[in-house]
Symmetry: C2
Subunit: 209 residues, 2 copies
């Protein structure tokens, strides 16, 4: 197995991955934007979300900036911007802005120093909560607490579920494959003695025919 | 916001999640199977994959078993088994086997004590590498090293990429929504001064028309 073959194979094992752009800024006001496929839900209360970062890679500026300014944004990648999002992984220098080079648009809100991606339809700001070192391979799990959510209102359904498929949010397989989705169904909370039932997009039980 | 609304909302933020069944066994030989949406790639060399677990939940047996026997399997959920996979999240007792109650079939190979899911088309065994505590919300990142991969050969492409869409692997959004996928494209490695090109499923550049 070559290194390249191995990287592509192992990156395919975990299943479909989230596609998110992480926006940061350093103390000098230089913005940075990088795509990550390792964003993971940690808990709803408090609302904690993490991502994996490794040292000495093209994404190192993301972590450096978060350490400096304690805030970052996560912006879901959708079908209109997936090529530009992928392009953020090119090896730009620290003083080059991925926004400028990829055509994505930085926008700011009052309480948050880090830039959001205007073109993303579901995005949120986080404050740094914890950086957890992973001894096994010298990576780090960077954890933030969600402070501000910006989302197209029509996508937020009655019970709190956000229909990210309607936002054309994409997912990633392997290192470089991008996918849109087609919903099979939502399912009711699993109970011991009965099979799960299909739910509507709003979380209601569908009446039996 | 009710707790239920908040849980569904926050669980939607991270984007599409992987859908995997984790198979374990305890020292007494009792098997366990549980669905997780937090499996995440950590590195290819060594091949490390992790997942998030929280204490005192229905999935606590998974971690207890891994601590006892040091091995576990991860099995991608596909379109034939997504309902049964969801059903593993019902609150079965420690002495009840999710395999029996969901109709999924345990299979074993020589070097691995933990059960695989026969119906899964891409599955692998791991040995426990590290359990990383997350102070922020008392969860843990459980990390394993991949030892054995079992995959339909036709899905493994020329450059190592596994076409998990051809295996009908599903993804999850929110707590309870399941999705199949449709590939947009693979993209070439991003370089500073040119836009990414579309790649074939085997990783070859497509000739320009």
């Amino acid at each position: 197995m070559t290194d390249s073959y191995r990287t592509k194979l192992i990156n395919s094992l975990s299943g479909f991955k989230s596609a998110n752009l992480i926006g940061t800024i350093n103390k000098q006001g230089q913005t940075n934007l990088a795509i990550f496929s390792s964003v993971v839900h940690l808990g709803a209360s408090p609302a904690l979300i993490g991502f994996i970062t490794r040292p000495h890679t093209v994404t190192r500026h993301t972590l450096e900036n978060i350490k400096q300014t304690k805030q970052f944004t996560i912006n879901q990648v959708n079908k209109d911007i997936w090529r530009s999002a992928h392009q953020t992984s090119a090896r730009y220098d620290a003083d080059q802005c991925e926004f400028q080079h990829t055509g994505l648009t930085p926008i700011f809100i009052d309480e948050v120093n880090a830039p959001f991606v205007k073109e993303s339809l579901l995005k949120y700001a986080l404050t740094l909560e914890e950086i957890v070192p992973v001894a096994a391979n010298n990576t780090q799990l960077v954890i933030g607490k969600v402070t501000n959510i910006i989302c197209e209102p029509h996508a937020i359904r009655k019970d709190g579920y956000i229909d990210i498929e309607s936002l054309e949010t994409v997912s990633i397989s392997g290192l470089d494959s991008y996918h849109v989705t087609e919903r099979l169904s939502r399912l009711s909370y699993a109970k011991k003695d009965k099979l799960p039932e299909d739910l509507s997009i709003d979380g209601d039980r569908l009446s039996k025919q």
